[in-house]
Structures are given as C-alpha cells and as structure tokens.
Amino acid sequence: MSTRNIAAVIVFSIVAVFFIFTALLMHPFGVPDESDMDDYIIDNTQEETGANNGVTAVVFDYRGFDTLGEATVLFTAVAGVIMIFRRLKND
C-alpha cells in the first residue's frame, strides 16, 4: 500500500469518527434545545401575518432579508452563466 493510500485511509477514518460522534450526540427528533423562538412563531404567525403556512411566513416576512440575498444569488448565477457561455460562443 502506497503512502498516498495510507494517508487517505487516515483522513477518511478521522472524518468518519467525527460524523459518527455527531450522529450519536444529536438530540431527539422534534425536540429543540431552545424552543422560545419556535413557540413564538408557531403561536403568532396566523395573527401577525395572516398566512396559514408558517414556513412561507418566516421566509418572506420574519426573515425577508434572507430571501433578498437568495434572489441576489440567483441573479448573480444567471449573469455568470450567460457571461461564460457567451464568450465560449464567440471564440
């Protein structure tokens, strides 16, 4: 076995140990550690925003700036793709 393979095995083992420990330390499904924010949003979404879907209310109302950044990312991706492939076409 070459040195490169041994190094790959060691790196893979370290990463696998980290993943296994993270999986073992996960808290149970549906029970967050700090539940104040969740409880506030679940209780007040329908009165404050008038939407029945809480996820959309969080995405577009409570955390609107995140969606603005996401729209910017999409616009940048489209601009980059068009820029790269237009140059390929002209050459």
Binding site: Q46, N53, T56, A57, G64, E70, L74, V81
Partner: protein, 159 residues
C-alpha cells in the same frame, strides 16, 4: 442540441401542461400549502427544461424571444424589492407586512388554529410569492437554455 425521438417529444408535449399547472398552483397557494415561490418556480422551470431537452435548443430559441425573458426576470426582481419598499412607505420597516388586516387585497386574518384555508389572506406574502416565482422560473430556464445552446454551437465548432 438536436431533438430527440418522436416518442420522447410526444410524451413531453403531453406532460408539459400538467407540470406547468402544478408549478403555478404551488406558487399561487404558497401562503396556504407547503411550497412557495422558489419551489413552484423550480417545478415550472423543470417543465420548461423537459421541453428543451426533448425538442432541442434551436427549436426552443425559435419559439421564444430572449428580450422577453430578460424583461420577465427583471420584473420579478424589481417587483420583490418594490413590495419590500412599499412596506417602508405604508408601514414601519423594510419588508413590513402592510396589507394584513387592511380589508384590501389579501387582507383577511384567518381564524387561529387549524381549519379551512382562505386564499384571500396573507398580506404581501402572495405578491412576493408571485414575484419570486417569476424570477426563479425565468432564471433557472435561462441557465439551462444558455448551456444547451452553447453546447450545440461548441459541438458544431469542433466538427
């Protein structure tokens, strides 16, 4: 990219309206059911990409105008920011939900708890869903279209 066989083209023609209507339904009901602007836009854009893969990029580019695509994408982005700025004008802050409880468009407040949904609720959320949905449909479709057309011309150059 050349067009595929007749079987693929027929099936794509039959399946396109259903996929498109499902995507638009997910966008329009974003404030009531799971999904929203991005998810519905991704479904509708995959319907357009299916047509593109089946019929080829030359046929698709003959059928649509590129100017209109750029106008639609800009309309989505500007509409999203304009609604957010209207929150600054009529309400208190950027991204303020100024339409809720105003008895205007989408102004009804639903009863608390689970129950039958009313589409006339949500304030600015449905409008923002439409804007982001338009932007995502056109944006993702333009990415696939430009890549397909560049692949075609690249292959012709190599011959």
């Amino acid at each position: 990219m050349t067009k595929m066989s007749k079987i693929v083209r027929t099936i794509a023609s039959i399946a396109f309206p259903f996929a498109m209507i499902y995507g638009l339904y997910v966008i329009a009901h974003g404030h009531l059911t799971p999904g929203g602007g991005f998810q519905g836009g991704a479904i509708a854009a995959s319907a357009c990409a299916m047509i593109l893969v089946a019929f080829g990029s030359k046929w698709t580019l003959d059928k649509i105008k590129e100017k209109r695509l750029s106008v639609f994408e800009s309309l989505g982005g500007i509409g999203f920011i304009a609604i957010a700025l209207l929150g600054l004008v009529f309400g208190a802050a950027f991204f303020n939900n100024f339409l809720t409880g105003s008895n205007f468009l989408f102004g009804t407040i639903p009863a608390t708890g689970s129950g039958l949904a009313d589409i006339n609720t949500g304030g600015v959320l449905p409008l923002m869903n439409f804007a982001v949905g338009l932007k995502v449909i056109v944006g993702l479709f333009v990415i696939v279209l430009v890549m397909a057309y560049a692949a075609t011309s690249f292959k012709e150059d190599k011959k």
